[in-house]
Symmetry: C2
Subunit: 477 residues, 2 copies
């Protein structure tokens, strides 16, 4: 017999035919009304039992969190709040949930409390909604790229090279932790390590994706990346998922077009496919914000905010223009910024990005043509020899959601840049090969997937949009 989910059941018409359904008890009222949910949807199916016809011991086992199977007629609901209900004729308890010890009771739990119960928190409305949206967003990412001629590319996770010099890395090893083998000079002998060299967890699949773009044309990665940074913030994880498209024959303008089109498409996908969950999350956010001062509340409800992103052009602004705007801004003149913008070349802080997006333009912003000095070595140098063809997409409430660039395809220019920065050519011999053999202009970007989930669900802390967050001092479960 094929299992029917609550979601499927709620989409059918009441026929008074007998149905069978499994799920977990969300609530049990008046010894009569069971709200049953199996995780397939935010909505419950109401199961009505006539307690006089059931064994008392059985009834006692029906409590929040218990797994049950019910059979009964699917009928139009007598009560308010739902269209359908099951008139239960038989009930089986798969597993009870003792009310005194089961932590997920039908009351408000803090997100902090639930983080400690990450193995159970997906049984709450909030987390099940977030995780369903996360799943839909993932599929939207794949669907967008596959429909647009991209090939999915699995970048290696264990790597012998530091892609960007971008972040602190985790070492991957099988050497004895206490007494590693040593060379004559006293250094650790990584030749005896599993891979015969020192290896780390990847911080980005970009360089390898470039190699694949130069063969398959358009590729994208979607995989885990890692930063061993001691950042205990609501925006950082040590392990997070990143999406990195890379396209041969794309310049920066085409790259920006793609980033904007991509983000709009995946958010629209969620709007079209996750209405119930988004409505729940929107209400949750409105409730949560009631206790906040007006100034800290969102300007738009969640769904309106998502719709706004889909419907409006992102504002494209050069770094140079942005510096002028910031220099002349009120918070800069009144010294309200922690970092005052005095001159061209300054690295933008989160406060500046938020000012541009939330106060000045009031829409997503793409900044481009950054100073070469504050960007990575592989970005293409402009004719001015001061700026590079970099671009960041900035989102309200989130800050940088995308960072990308046109890549430096000219061998000599790349070699010079690496020499200036002290990057050994032997380290990246294969990356240089891409410029020696059939080089061409190409571009790409990286999008931190959890930030996209945060934006789409309205969740304030990045630890609440990934099943089992990894952060400093925390790798539980």
């Amino acid at each position: 017999m094929k299992l029917i989910s609550v979601k499927e059941l709620l989409e059918t018409q009441p026929t008074s035919q007998e149905v069978e359904i499994n799920g977990w008890v969300k609530t049990f009222r008046s010894n009569r009304f069971i709200a049953l949910n199996d995780g397939s949807t935010i909505n419950n199916i109401q199961c009505v039992i006539d307690f006089e016809n059931f064994d008392e011991e059985l009834i006692k086992g029906i409590s929040t969190g218990a797994a049950i199977r019910v059979k009964g007629a699917l009928v139009e609901s007598q009560g308010k709040g739902q269209n359908l209900e099951i008139q239960v004729s038989s009930l089986f308890i798969h597993g009870k949930a003792d009310a005194d010890s089961y932590p997920i009771q039908p009351k408000k739990h803090s997100l902090e409390f639930l983080r400690e119960k990450a193995h159970l928190r997906v049984r709450t409305n909030t987390f099940s909604a977030v995780m369903r949206v996360r799943s839909a967003l993932s599929y939207a990412v794949h669907t967008y790229f596959q429909q647009n001629g991209f090939y999915y590319f699995h970048a290696p996770i264990v790597t012998g090279s530091d892609a960007e010099g971008a972040g602190e890395m985790f070492r991957v090893t099988t050497l004895d932790a206490k007494n590693p083998p040593l060379n004559d000079d006293g250094a650790v002998n990584y030749k005896e390590d599993f891979f015969g060299k020192e290896t780390n967890l990847t911080v980005s699949g970009q360089l390898e994706a470039e190699a694949y773009a130069m063969g398959l044309g358009k590729v994208y990665t979607f995989g885990p990346t890692f930063r061993a940074e001691n950042s205990n913030t609501s925006r950082h994880l040590a392990e997070f998922w990143m999406i990195e498209p890379e396209m041969a024959f794309y310049d920066l303008d085409m790259n920006m077009d793609l980033a904007e089109d991509f983000i709009k498409w995946v958010i629209n996908y969620v709007l079209e496919n996750c209405q119930d969950d988004l409505q729940f999350l929107e209400k949750r956010l409105l409730d949560e914000e009631k206790s906040k001062p007006q100034a800290e509340r969102s300007e738009m409800p969640l769904i309106e905010k998502l719709r706004f992103v889909v419907d409006n052009n992102f504002k494209r602004v050069s770094y140079t223009e942005a510096i002028e705007i910031l220099r002349n801004s009120k918070p800069n003149k009144k010294k309200k910024f922690d970092y005052i913008i005095n001159q061209w070349g300054a690295d933008l802080q989160s406060e500046h990005e938020r000012f541009l997006v939330e106060k000045h333009f009031k829409c997503p912003v793409i900044l481009f043509d950054y100073p070469a000095k504050i960007k990575a070595f592989y970005m293409r140098l402009n004719e001015d020899e001061k700026t590079v063809r970099a671009m960041d997409v900035l989102f309200p409430g989130i800050g940088e959601i995308v960072g990308g660039s046109q890549r430096e395809e000219r061998l000599e220019v790349l070699q010079q840049k690496m020499a200036d920065l002290g990057i050994e050519e032997e380290e990246l011999w294969w990356y240089l090969d891409l410029r020696k053999f059939g080089t061409a202009e190409h571009s790409g970007f990286g999008l931190g997937f959890e930030r996209l989930v945060q934006f789409s669900t309205g969740m304030g802390n990045i630890r609440d949009v990934i099943p089992f967050p990894r952060t400093p001092q925390n790798a539980s479960f």
Copy 2:
């Protein structure tokens, strides 16, 4: 201007209108015919140049591997072997590829040679075809599950617990490699490590997926997993991608139904969407096998083999039946097996699995109800108390492609099993919680993605179906 890919161009009608296309030169014949490819398809577009109208220096730059842009009229081809061609009016060289140093010349390269050039091998027909099929298979996996009510679940990569006790693990650390901090007793002080404890790369996301199945109903993982095993074989990688669906309220029969339906669906997806690549790979395989003795050749050409899997039922056989078949088999009686099957309880080796699949049943086989002693602690004990509700799907040429089970949902039985095996309850407190609160029967399986790619492409070595393979002593690129 929107870029047009070679794939898109080949699907259009010749209109004599001017088109512009970018790609890499595959071959250049008679100073006249360029076979151009951009990785979007196995097929090239022929570009015809009238060399008298082009600069001699430019012509010299057109060699295998060079990246070029051509403009010209798209017309019906005069020659054989293609329908369309471009009569080139202008040509631009993005980047040359010096014939003396570019390794990917238009001749047969050994797979071993190309493994050393993993950053360039995707520019060959074989690897571009394999990687496009890999991408299509990935998308098929997501599409199958999403269309069937599953939610994609990202299992953690860095983990503090050893899921199965199944394999050797890689340690993830930021401690000083040479002089790690020590406790008073001389042991390494992992409290000072990044996560405040000893952490490893995951060998399986199953246990965490179980937690999510008990909230969302049906989930699947698709992510990298790791084994620090010193296996230098054509079937093993240290880093590989695994797919692990996990379903609440599923018993073993439903689990087997799902595995079979899933595999057939994704292979059929490739049959429907990758015809050109499969035809190329089939031909490649036939060529390769010409040099082999008859007995080592495939019984069916690639596409016929895939079609056979899609069209035929997998044979379901209990372990006990399989042992009887093996015990009475010719190779067992004649002692041709390396491991002779004498009695019930023996662990099956690859040679036995291949005999069952390739010689005896001549179709994919699902073995189920294995002896408890040779299977993992979390598998559900049968009433006989000797066997567990495990199942393996065995494929011709590949061996085990899927391993799964119904999980032990009974708290006391699971605790007893863990005690017998010396697994500390504190290690898996959260996993036991799933049995304390709303437990229910549930099942799942794991499928090694690279083995599926091997089967679908006919590639003999697993290192040739992942972009940058990680194996003992090798983490290049």
